[in-house]
Symmetry: C2
C-alpha cells in the first residue's frame, strides 16, 4: 500500500479523496498498488467526514512519517504552502500541487529543491483544472520550440463574458449571477483583474521558455470595463471579447512578452468559441502548428483528478522518467508591454465623424469601420500601435468609450 497525505481539505482537497475512491481500480492498475490517504492536514476538524480520523494539525506529523511518499498541497496562497513544500521535499517526499500562486512565485526554487532532494514536484492542476496541459508541455510538445501561447485560463471571467454576450447584460449583473452560482468569489479581484490568469500564463511560459519572469514583468489588465456594446461590436466584426492570457516567446533573440487583457478574438480562432466556465490553451510551434487543449478549467473533480494523475505518475515511476522542467527566475529579455504593437477596437463619440475618420486614416496603417450608423458613435479597428501611439490616437478622436486590443495570431 502506498501512503499519501493532503494539505488543505477544501474543495480540491476533498475532491482528491473522492476521486481516489471513485477510480480505485484504475489507480491500482496504474500504480501497481493501492493508494491510501493517511493524513489530512487542515486547521479545521471534519467530524462528519469518513476521513475525520485522518485529520492532523501539525505539518511535522507528515514530515516525520516515513510511510508518506507523496503529499498533495491544495491549500492555496504562497505561505505557508511554500515553506511546507520545501520542508516536505527536504524530508524525501514528493509534492503535487494545484496552487498556481506558489508555482508562479516560487516554481523555480521548488523545482530546484525537488531536484536537490531526489524527489518530484508536479503541478498539472495549477493550470487548466482537469485539462492535461502541463504534461503535454513537458512530454509531447517538449521537442518543439513553442513560439506563442494563448489561453482562456480563468473560468469565472469567461463565464461572465459569455453571459454578457448571450443576455446583453452588464458586467455587474453577470458578476452577481456568477457569484450566486458559486463561480465567482465575493471578492472577485484575482479573477476579474487578470491576476489568476497572469499566474497561469507565467507558468506555461516558464515551461516553454525555461524562464519564470518576475511578477511585474507580466502585464495584467482588468476585464471589468468590457461592456455589452463591446460584445455587440465584436460579434458584428466577426468574433468575441475574451480575457486572453498570451505569451510570445522569441527563442532566437531570447525575448519574452507576457500579457493578460481583454482581446477581440476572431471566430477563426478556436478560443473565440470557448464559452461558460471552460478553459482553452492554444499553443503554436513551427513543427506542430496550432494545438489547443480544452476543458473545464476549474471545479472540484477536474482539478482533483489532475492532482491524482500527478500522484499516480509519481507512484508508478512514470514521472521519474519524464523530463523535469527547470525554471530560471529572471527578467532577462522580458519585453515591456508598452512596446508591444496591437490593432485596437475603438469606440468613440467624436464631435465630427468625418474629422475623426480623417485623423485615423492619416495616422493608422489600418482603419476598419465596424459601425458608424448608430448616431454619434464611431466603432473601428485601428492600428497597429504601441501604448503611446494608441493613447495619442485616442486623444485625438473625441470621447473614447472603449479601447480593446485585437488578438494577434502567432
Amino acid at each position: 500500500m502506498k501512503h499519501i497525505a493532503i494539505i488543505g481539505y477544501g474543495v480540491v482537497g476533498g475532491g482528491i479523496t473522492a476521486v481516489i475512491e471513485e477510480n480505485k481500480a484504475f489507480i491500482e492498475r496504474m500504480v501497481g498498488d493501492c493508494v491510501n490517504v493517511k493524513y489530512i492536514l487542515d486547521l479545521r476538524e471534519f467530524p462528519d467526514s469518513p476521513y475525520g480520523d485522518r485529520v492532523v494539525h501539525d505539518i511535522e506529523t507528515l514530515i516525520d512519517d516515513r510511510d508518506i511518499s507523496v503529499v498533495c498541497e491544495t491549500m492555496g496562497g504562497s505561505h505557508p504552502a511554500y515553506e511546507y513544500s520545501v520542508a516536505l521535499m527536504r524530508s524525501g517526499k514528493s509534492v503535487v500541487t494545484s496552487n498556481k500562486e506558489v508555482v508562479a512565485s516560487f516554481g523555480d526554487e521548488l523545482l530546484r529543491c525537488a531536484a536537490e532532494n531526489g524527489v518530484t514536484y508536479m503541478f498539472e492542476a495549477s493550470v487548466g483544472g482537469g485539462i492535461p496541459v502541463i504534461r503535454p508541455f513537458t512530454t509531447s510538445l517538449a521537442g518543439d520550440s513553442i513560439g506563442k501561447i494563448d489561453g482562456i485560463l480563468n473560468g469565472t471571467t469567461n463565464y461572465i463574458l459569455t453571459r454578457m454576450k448571450e443576455s446583453g447584460c452588464s458586467f455587474e449583473e453577470a458578476l452577481s449571477e456568477a457569484q450566486t452560482l458559486g463561480y465567482a468569489e465575493r471578492n472577485p479581484t484575482n479573477d476579474v483583474d487578470g491576476i489568476d490568469s497572469k499566474r497561469k500564463i507565467m507558468i506555461l511560459a516558464a515551461l516553454a521558455s525555461g524562464k519564470l519572469v518576475d511578477n511585474d514583468c507580466a502585464y495584467a489588465e482588468t476585464m471589468t470595463k468590457v461592456s455589452a456594446a463591446d460584445n455587440k461590436a465584436a460579434e458584428k466584426w466577426g468574433g468575441a471579447v475574451k480575457l486572453v492570457a498570451s505569451a510570445v516567446i522569441d527563442h532566437a533573440n531570447d525575448k519574452l512578452a507576457l500579457y493578460v487583457c481583454p482581446q477581440f478574438v476572431p471566430f477563426s480562432c478556436p478560443l473565440a468559441h470557448i464559452s461558460d466556465v471552460y478553459n482553452g490553451v492554444m499553443v503554436n510551434s513551427p513543427v506542430t502548428g496550432d494545438v489547443m487543449f480544452y476543458g473545464r478549467g476549474a471545479g472540484r473533480f477536474p482539478t482533483a483528478g489532475a492532482v491524482v494523475d500527478d500522484v499516480c505518475a509519481i507512484l508508478s515511476g512514470a514521472a521519474a522518467a519524464e523530463t523535469t522542467p527547470v525554471f530560471e527566475k529572471t527578467s532577462r529579455g522580458a519585453v515591456p508591454f508598452a512596446e508591444l504593437k496591437f490593432e485596437y477596437y475603438v469606440r468613440t463619440r467624436p464631435e465630427s465623424k468625418s474629422d475623426a475618420l480623417e485623423f485615423l486614416n492619416s495616422t493608422c496603417g489600418k482603419v476598419q469601420v465596424i459601425d458608424s450608423e448608430d448616431s454619434g458613435v464611431l466603432e473601428a479597428i485601428v492600428g497597429e500601435a504601441n501604448l503611446d501611439e494608441i493613447r495619442h490616437i485616442c486623444d485625438n478622436i473625441g470621447a473614447v468609450e472603449s479601447v480593446i486590443r485585437v488578438w494577434k495570431n502567432a
Copy 2:
C-alpha cells in the same frame, strides 16, 4: 549517439529527417544524446536527398544492425508493415508508427509482441497527426473511466464540409478543390466513406476500453450524400454538419458502440467550430468532464513531429515508465449500430405537409420543425429512433431527400 531508421520515405518519413534536423538541440536535451537516422528503407532511390546514402532496400539490414534501437514505420498499409514491425521487435528494436491501418488491424498483436520482446510499440502519430492525444489517453486520462469519445478525425472530409458550408458549393465541387490543393487523394474513398476515421476511433476506443473491436463491429457511413441544403438547415438549427467518429463505452455493462457518420453538431459543442483540415478529439469522463484536443490532424510536419516525440520518449526512457496499453481483439459487448437510438434531421417533400407532420407527431417523441416555409419542403428534427424505426418514419412522410443523425452528448 543513438541510431534510428525510417521505413517508407514518403511525406511523413521525409518530415522525420527534417524535424530531427530542425529540433536538434531540443531533442538532444530530452534524449541526453544526439539522434542519427542511420537507414532509410524504401523501394526507391533518393539521389538528390542529403540522406540518399542512407537508403537501403532490404529489411534485413535494419534487423541485423544492433546499433539501431528504434525504427519509425511510416509506410502505411497493413502489409508488409505488420510483418516488418514484428520482425524488428523480435530482434530487440522498438517501433514507432504513424500507420493507423496497421494499428487498427493488428494493434493487439503488435503491443503483445513488444511486451514479449521487452521493447516498445508507440503510435501517437496514427491519430490526430501532431495533436498529443494517444499519450494523454495513456497518462493524464488513464486514471479516469472514459465513457464517450467524439472526434473529427479526418482533415480531408472536414475541409470538404467547411468549404461546402462557407461557399454553398456541392460535395463534388469541394472534393475537386481539396484534390487540387493536395488535401484529398485522387481516390478519396478511405476519407469520404469514413474508413480512415473508423480506424482512428477504433484505436482511441481500444485505449479507453482495452478492446480493439473487429473491423465489422464498427460502423462507417459515407459523407458524400451531405448537400448544401443540409448545411443550411444545420446552421438554421444552430450547428454544423460534421463527419464525427464516436465511441460509447459502458464500462459497468461491458458494452461498446463505435460509429462514424455525418452528424448535426450543435454550436454548444466545440466540435461544431472545427474548420478546414483541423481535427479535434473530445473525451468525456465522470471526473474530468469534457476535454478536447485540437490541432492539425495531418500534414508532413505535425505527423512527423508526433513520430519524433515517440522516438524521444523511447530513447529518454520515459516511455518505459509509462503504462503500456494492452489491447484485446474482441467483438464481445459490441452493440450493433442498428440498435442505437438517435434524433435525426430529416428533409422531405411530402405530398401534404400537415399529414406528414401529423404522422411525425404521432410517431416520434420529438418533432422540431426547422423549416416549412420553403414551398414543398419540410425540414425537422425527429426521434429518438433506431435504424428500423427511422426507416419506418421515412417511408411514411413522402420523398425523403436527407436523413442525418443528431450528435448526442455523453
